[in-house]
Symmetry: C2
Subunit: 468 residues, 2 copies
């Protein structure tokens, strides 16, 4: 293993909050990207190359992906600069002066085509394609994967929760279980794209214009002499937040006390939150009590280790729940916490001529050349995707579009527009699995040629799930 | 659900990198923390309170936790300030002027006791205890959980990998699969505490003084006319990184070419990396070829979707692997991606008198009062932990120690010291499960008193695993 020298950090590690500014993410890269870039520079190999980001197989428990993370990823690529401290560190690691001088002037200048956020995607399809001088394309790999893989995992999970909730709402309660600060910001954003109605994360609500939501904690209730005292105080002190957490002592009693506190204070009860116990029975009991009290507008909010199967079962059973507050499962995509996106060279220019490239490792073969995806929709439902050689014109909707030119992001959609796209995509989800992803005739011929494979082996749909 | 008004963000969401500075993490909080704090201020309820952070049950597939995240968490707590933009946003959400004035002067002034990072912990044990004016203690909850939960999950997973690897090394290759920028920084740090020998993440290596490691990608090899050309170029251009990725075309041929390139260039071959195929057979074949070539010092590095069971099997089978490069499983703790830490009020002071507090919800009952954990070790092995009332003196080693006083972190260990502690803890892991965590007599009496439970029910070990 190449270990190089290890300079001492300038601050004691233990007291460092560990946050990076956007330009500092230039070093949020695998060491090998820098080693390869240094070699490319020395070899004079900096002609344009094309890389595609895709998943070889869908993750376990997933039949499609909802793409997310492009906006933040492109913002980081735009901001990427190597500052003096970064260059000093790389110098101490042994990188050559010539390479450091090159990095000092680094600015991504390439082109990126991608599926916009909120698009449904399948295995084998490029989610994103980078066309740039080889060194630039190489140096943004880790950052692109770091942002797009996990945000796509969270958006996909959130979409599953939103679908399970049907006409009721899902909100993001995940900051305490997300994998750090960046994950919490992006989980709220990805969930919003997937259709979540709000987030408990105030920083994300501020940054992304989302709806901040919340109630109270058990510790609040326990901090007063009685539950009734707690409800009265909360209603008077912060009437715009009048959702009462009713399960600290006894849930049904709690609902009665919430009603009593609303009557005493005159503050309209916005809702009650049930965080434990039999959600079906308790939501019904709560609904009955609230309706009898003339508080039909008070919402029933349910929380506590929810996942989509449980939500779907409660919805099917007719549980009168208005809002599902989901933390751990939404924020970590617990049953499938990773999307295995990879970033592979598909073409490069040598001596003025473009050349399609493919990887031939037996279990990791790739499809050569820049590609486009065409989607066939009929009767409002996705029927088939066809992977084609970039430049082909096929029937169906092309999914990749230019999103960055000359290193400048050209994203114009608002978050609302992403959410609208996502809702449309989720309405058109295929009705059976696995979804057929086929290769165009031209791509079959090119792949057979580059890979040395029989064309017949390429005329069946791409495998969507890995063998496990 | 309390939704309040939703102001528009000042920048278009889609183009925002979504990173926060340390002070800005003041808003990385669940909305209800602010709502409760506003009510406490209005009620004049800002006397000291004690909260403890613990897990109710161990996560699936885990019999212990390796605690991590304290250093970054305390650094963020120290840095927490409400700036003008934050206060302006909260004003637009409807928070009262009096509360905003209070927040403008916010600075955490409390005391924190905690298990130092690198300590092994079990369910029911406080990992951390906060003693502070109630509002301060409340406002740091989300941030503490956001940092400590996931870093403990990653450190625990990394420790399992390190144990499986026995005498060989584990390195962190996870940035592309980690959940964002902060996760990548902290995954490298948590893995280092758990005993990882290096990280591919250059930013984390720089920040935390870790050993940066890396090889080359398949795209590098494919960018040259032949594999041999690629190896020669890499050795000449970046000789300190002379680990060759040998499976792009044919692994055994690749090893032969790596040997040939080293002979031609005179650059010592540091190692070969195997990223696909039968790792046992290929590592043996590679070792034989390297040894025959007189390159006994060249390391065998294995990568590609590794997890601890597979590593343990290969180690047991005698695979001659020197370094295991682990990405997804290490960085996401894939089989158990969350640690369910909660933060619960255990005592507060009312009218000058301390009062132990407990939550009585049937499935979420808590133990009242500030607590200490005493660990019994015999024959170098952990035998039993006893949860005691803070202030009790029992046999065994107390696990919580003061780490912050008057809002100032008092952490003095280096990362090396944390790693040394962790190694000692892992050597002393209990030999059977579930590990016994008992309550002291005083804690039994206190709990029976506050919870209204029979003392006999409290004299058995705490449940370590949830019913699933």
């Amino acid at each position: 293993m190449a270990t190089a020298r290890t300079p001492s950090p300038r601050r004691p590690a233990i007291n460092d909050p560990g946050l990076l500014t956007a330009p500092e993410t230039c070093l949020l890269t695998d060491q090998y990207e820098l080693a390869m870039a240094a070699s490319y520079l020395r070899q004079g190999m900096n002609e344009p190359a094309v890389f595609e980001l895709f998943v070889r197989h869908l993750p376990p428990h997933r039949d499609w992906l909802l793409v997310a993370g492009l906006g933040p990823a492109l913002a980081l690529v735009e901001a990427m600069r190597f500052g003096d401290a970064d260059l000093g560190y790389l110098r101490r690691l042994g990188f050559a002066r010539e390479f450091l001088d090159h990095l000092a002037g680094f600015r991504f200048s390439g082109r990126i085509d991608a599926m916009p956020e909120g698009t449904v995607a399948f295995a084998g399809e490029p989610l994103l394609r980078v066309t740039a001088p080889r060194i630039e394309a190489q140096l943004i790999e880790t950052l692109l994967l770091n942002q797009i893989n996990f945000q796509t995992a969270i958006a996909t999970k959130a979409a599953r929760l939103v679908l399970a909730a049907a006409d009721s709402a899902v909100v993001d309660f995940s900051p305490r279980r997300d994998h750090g600060v960046d994950a919490a910001m992006k989980a709220a954003r990805a969930a919003a794209i997937a259709g979540a109605a709000g987030t408990s994360n105030v920083a994300a609500a501020k940054r992304y214009g989302l709806t901040p939501v919340g109630t109270m904690a058990h510790s609040y209730v326990m901090s007063f002499r009685t539950e009734l005292d707690a409800f009265r105080a909360f209603m008077r002190d912060t009437p715009e937040n009048a959702v009462m957490l009713v399960d600290t002592y006894d849930t049904v009693q709690g609902v009665r006390r919430a009603i009593a506190a609303a009557r005493e204070t005159g503050v309209p009860l916005k809702g009650v939150r049930l965080d434990s116990g039999d959600r079906l029975a308790l939501s019904r009991a709560a609904r009955t009590l609230l309706d009898r009290a003339g508080m039909g507008d008070a919402a029933i909010v349910v929380s506590g280790d929810l996942e989509e199967r449980q939500i779907a079962e409660l919805v099917a059973a007719g549980a009168p729940v208005d809002v599902w507050s989901v933390g751990t499962d939404l924020g970590t995509s617990r049953d499938s916490p990773t999307v295995g996106g990879v970033y592979k060279l598909v073409a490069d220019r040598r001596d003025g001529a473009w050349r399609p490239v493919a990887k031939r490792s037996p279990d990791k073969a790739t499809l050569p050349g820049p590609k486009q995806v065409f989607r066939h929709i009929a009767g409002g439902v996705m029927r088939e995707d066809v992977l084609a050689v970039e430049g082909e014109r096929l029937l169906g909707r092309p999914l990749l579009e230019p999103v960055m030119r000359d290193g400048r992001a050209e994203l114009t959609d608002s978050l609302d527009a992403l959410r609208t796209r996502s809702a449309g995509e989720l309405r058109a989800l295929p009705t059976s699995t696995p979804y057929p992803v086929l290769l165009s005739d031209r791509l079959v011929r090119l792949t057979a040629d580059v890979q040395g494979m029989a064309a017949a082996d390429l005329r069946r749909p791409l495998e969507q799930h890995g063998r496990t």
